[in-house]
């Protein structure tokens, strides 16, 4: 999930992606795969799936919350996303190498 980079960008990206993954898990068509009359040790598969996926999502959120605590004071640039309505040019990401 989160890479251990110093600025926590990996963790922040994971935190951004998590709700979308969670939504996909609970929406058709994915959920329809498990909506079949199969029981696992007496319990319907769909019931197990929903609660298991739910628990996994909460666990991920827990891990991310712990990791994000460490980057609280770091200046962040996540809102580049919302200011770019047109999705136009991003600022240059790499500095130019100056001649010696």
């Amino acid at each position: 999930m989160a890479s251990g980079t110093n600025d926590g960008q990996g963790t922040k990206d994971a935190a951004t992606v998590l709700p979308f993954i969670a939504a996909i898990l609970f929406l058709p068509p994915l959920i329809l795969i498990f909506a079949s009359p199969v029981t696992v040790s007496g319990l319907p598969l769909i019931l197990l799936y929903v609660f298991a996926a739910w628990a996994v999502v909460i666990a991920c959120a827990f891990v991310l919350a712990l990791r994000l605590r460490d980057f609280r004071d770091a200046p962040d640039a996540i809102d580049r996303r919302d200011s770019d309505e047109g999705g136009s040019a991003q600022p240059p990401t790499t500095g130019r190498r100056m001649p010696p």
């Binding site: 935190a15 998590l18 329809l32 739910w54 991310l64 919350a65 605590r69 136009s88 240059p92």
Partner: protein, 890 residues
């Protein structure tokens, strides 16, 4: 059956405990505002007022009727909270920074502190929430009645009990008292309701423990071999019904509601004091929901298995333990439902009363000058009174709604209807946080359209009151217009009524929000607020100060602050302000601070109108605004500029490096030149010195030798002079404008003169000097003498360096394409490829010189020709001999 007295007694004890908790919570918070009452755990537990009695009792009912569908109500908020980093974090941060008092305040502040928008949002929230409050009252009385029913709980849940309005009335009255005492203690909403929050947290624990206890007990009981209800289990797989459009719509609505419900906004945004609270809630609140849902299906199963057919599934949680004579668990279930219902009503009424007083009563009072204008506490008392009255109004509006709708099932569905109503806030809320262009007009249009369509397609039909909407209208449309049928708008039929209403209301809401926003121009204040909201993370210190310039007298400002904040607070605020030289006029910063503090009390819109009353002059700097608003563009432009600059710098650096390289080269040439000059000077000097020493030390030297030595000394002196003259010439050519006589002349004359001069030298060396082609009518500008010198140099070089057996020098000239061209060719050894450029340098000599020269001839010649605007070069090498070319423009 539980004894009514016992239930009442337990409930009263419980309420007494809640009062105590709230009281001590308030006390403790006053001593230490950032103590454990502000901890993330308490914050998370307060958010769990999302789980009302509709959850506590209704989730099992919903699971019994529609299988897993109940889970969507909790999965939606789970998705929103685990995704806090994307949306909630921004919302909560902005709310905290702007001292937002309610969702209506938030939306109105974002769209230029618009009073109209605040009022509209308040009306929507009120209409959508009142039935929800009625539902809680109904659940409370029903659970009380069933638990204490003389014929037993099972029998009670099988018959339609007439609601006990007396109980409901006293419950409503009790809730009003609690809300007023702990919720409206102070008018500053941002002095958080610690007492209420503490009590809510206790209630959250009680309802969770109650539901888990019932769940555990049911699971333990079911293991003894009770058959699972096959039909119910099969309903779980019914993918068409359960996991279709309704499933998606419910997920969406629940996710929207956990942000947009006034009470959720109150506990999540308004009561928030730090980001760490939200960070913990991001996983703890979903975990709470998960635990709440864990035993819902088992309880539903058990209810179907053990209770007679026709039992009300909404009361399984309560009836199951009572049926098994587990009175203690039954009592706990009553308390759990009681907790869930009361916490929802308390927080909802507080949130709504703030909205009503700030966005309806205050603006009206200010406009019609109803608000007490005198000094002192009267205005504060007026606002507090308005809040208290609003709480009573809201709770009893719920009560009357319950009284009117009576025993109909209309209330059961009201939860989702309410969700859909408050979801109308979502477009303005999300658009306001991410879309700069969104305008006040767009927000009003979208909200109004969504609200009307929600009312028409969902809310009014769900009331089931024929006088408001006759059944013929629902079946055939108004005036028989089928395309306006409330549950099949524009002929879209076959959808679940809820999905239908969600689709059309959100469709028109979003469409109008976007269209009107694009069509209208945002006011300067809207533009400013949008920048402050959207860039909340980027710039937390920048404020309106730099944009809005206002003039107000401190005395007037102080008066307003006195009236709303109280004298002590006002004095503190005024003292905080830096006292400038003109103490009578308030600084922009002071005005801004006063407005901020007022906004925390009465909302941004009312605070603005209050401050505007005493402001004599207001200008919004459009330039500054543009700068703020276009900061994102600015950053982009700035980075582009940076890149351009760095390219320039790089280019300059390259040029500098090149110049540096050339300088080094020239420096090296100079060093070479100097060492060569010393070397050239040293040889004649050495010979002059040694001969003169011989002459001095040998006075009796023979006359012939003496003369020979003196001759050598003279020759060497002449050579030295020539050398120094050459260097001088060269330096003159390189530095100063030479004092040449400039004239128009025939270069042939210079060539002839040079040939004549070299005649004797050629003859002496036995070199055959030939003259071939001549140029006719050639004419160049410059110095004839100097050109002749160049030719002499070239010809004498050709003679001196010719080592051929029968040496020969050929001089020719011609005019080609307007360029005079003279060749001096010989049949000597030629110039090797590597030497072709070097020979033009100073002190370069051809190999194997017949006579040693200064080595400056060609360098000087080239300088002269270039001064004349021509070129001296060596023709491409060919077999035998060198061929020098002088080209001059005519």
């Amino acid at each position: 059956m539980l004894s009514a007295n016992l239930v009442v007694f337990v409930c009263l004890i419980y309420v007494a405990i809640l009062f105590a908790v709230a009281f001590f919570g308030d006390m403790r918070a006053r001593r230490d505002p950032s103590g454990w009452l502000s901890s993330p755990l308490i914050y998370t537990l307060s958010i769990s007022i999302y789980c009302t009695s509709w959850t506590f009792f209704g989730a099992v009912g919903s699971a019994t009727r529609s299988g897993l569908e109940f889970a969507t109500i909790y999965l939606g908020p789970t998705i929103v909270f685990v995704g806090w980093w994307v949306f909630l974090r921004k919302l909560v941060t902005i709310g905290r920074l702007n001292h937002t008092t309610s969702i209506a305040d938030f939306i109105s502040a974002r769209f230029g502190k618009s009073p109209a928008l605040g009022a509209a949002a308040t009306v929507v929230a009120l209409v959508a929430t009142t039935p929800y409050i009625a539902l809680q009252l109904k659940a409370l009385t029903a659970s009380f009645q069933v638990a204490t029913f003389g014929g037993g709980a099972v029998a009670a849940s099988n018959i339609d009990l007439a609601p006990d309005y007396v109980t409901a009335f006293w419950v409503a009255a009790g809730l009003c008292v609690f809300s007023i005492i702990f919720g409206v203690r102070n008018i500053d909403v941002n002095e958080r309701h610690h007492g209420v929050i503490a009590a809510i947290a206790v209630e959250a624990i009680v309802k969770l423990v109650a539901l888990l206890t019932v769940g555990f007990w049911v699971v333990l009981r079911t293991t003894d071999g009770a058959a699972l209800n096959a039909a119910h289990i099969a309903a779980l797989y019914d993918s068409d019904d359960t996991y279709g459009s309704r499933w998606i719509a419910l997920l969406f609505l629940a996710g929207a509601a956990v942000i947009c419900l006034p009470r959720q906004f109150q506990v999540t945004v308004v009561e928030n004091s730090s980001e760490s609270q939200l960070r913990t809630a991001s996983w703890l609140f979903p975990l709470y929901l998960f635990l709440i849902c864990l035993f819902v299906i088992p309880i539903a199963q058990a209810g179907l298995a053990y209770l007679p057919d026709g039992s009300n599934p909404d009361l399984f949680v309560l009836v199951l333990p009572l049926e098994a004579d587990q009175d203690l668990i039954g009592l706990l279930a009553v308390l759990g439902g009681f907790s869930a219902a009361t916490s929802m009503v308390i927080v909802s009424s507080i949130a709504l009363s703030t909205m009503i007083s700030n966005h309806i009563i205050m603006p009206l009072a200010l406009r019609f000058a109803v608000a007490p204008a005198s000094q002192g506490n009267s205005l504060r008392r007026f606002i507090l009174g308005a809040r208290r009255a609003s709480i009573v109004f809201i709770v009893f509006l719920g009560f009357f709604y319950f009284r009117l709708s009576g025993n109909s099932d209309a209330l059961a569905a009201i939860g989702l209807v309410s969700f859909c109503g408050v979801a109308q806030f979502l477009p303005s809320l999300v658009g306001g946080l991410y879309w700069r262009r969104a305008t006040h007009g767009g927000a009003i249009a979208g909200l109004a359209a969504g609200f009307l369509i929600w009312g028409y397609t969902l809310f009014i039909p769900s009331l089931d009151v024929p006088s408001v909407m006759p059944t013929t209208v629902i079946e055939n449309g108004p005036f028989g217009w089928a395309w306006l049928k409330p549950e099949a708008l524009f002929g879209v039929s076959g959808l679940d009524p809820l999905v239908h209403a969600v689709f059309w209301s959100m469709f028109f809401n979003i469409a109008l929000f976007v269209a009107v926003s694009i069509a209208s121009e945002p006011t300067p204040l809207t533009r400013l607020q949008s920048t402050l909201f959207i860039d909340a993370f980027r710039r937390q210190t920048e404020n309106e100060l730099s944009v809005i310039r206002r003039t107000a007298r401190i005395r007037d400002l102080r008066q307003i602050a006195d009236r709303i904040l109280g004298p002590a607070e006002a004095l503190k605020l005024i003292r905080l302000a830096p006292s400038g030289e003109s103490a009578a006029v308030a600084s922009d910063e002071l005005i801004w601070q006063v407005e901020q503090r007022l906004a925390a009390n009465v909302g941004a819109a009312s605070a603005r109108s209050l401050v505007s009353q005493v402001i004599t002059n207001e200008t919004i700097s459009v330039e500054e605004l543009k700068r703020l608003a276009n900061e994102a563009e600015q950053i982009r432009a700035y980075s582009a500029e940076l890149e351009r600059k760095s390219q320039q710098v790089e280019q300059t650096a390259n040029e500098l490096a090149e110049a540096n390289r050339r300088l080094r080269e020239i420096d090296m040439q100079k060093d070479d030149f100097l060492s060569q000059v010393s070397h050239e000077v040293r040889t004649p000097m050495a010979s002059i010195r040694s001969f003169s020493e011989i002459l001095l030390s040998n006075p009796d030297i023979e006359e012939a030798d003496r003369r020979r030595f003196i001759g050598i000394i003279q020759n060497e002196s002449i050579r030295l002079t020539r050398l120094l003259d050459g260097i001088l010439d060269l330096n003159l050519l390189q530095t100063d404008e030479p004092g040449w006589e400039i004239e128009q002349f025939d270069p042939e004359a210079a060539l002839d003169q040079a040939l004549e001069s070299c005649e004797a030298l050629a003859r002496g060396a036995g070199v055959k000097l030939e003259r071939s082609g001549r140029a006719r009518n050639a004419s160049v500008r410059g110095s004839r003498e100097k050109l002749a010198q160049v030719f002499i140099n070239l010809i004498s070089n050709a003679i001196k360096y010719n080592t051929n057996g029968s040496p020969r020098v050929v001089v020719s000239s011609a005019v080609r394409k307007g360029v005079y061209e003279a060749h001096v060719a010989d049949n000597g050894p030629g110039i090797p490829e590597s030497e072709r450029e070097r020979i033009f340098l100073k002190f370069a000599r051809g190999p194997m010189p017949r006579e040693v020269g200064a080595g400056l001839g060609l360098a000087i010649s080239r300088q002269i020709v270039e001064r004349l605007g021509g070129s001296l070069s060596l023709a491409p090498s060919k077999a035998g001999g060198a061929d020098f070319i002088v080209r001059l423009n005519q």
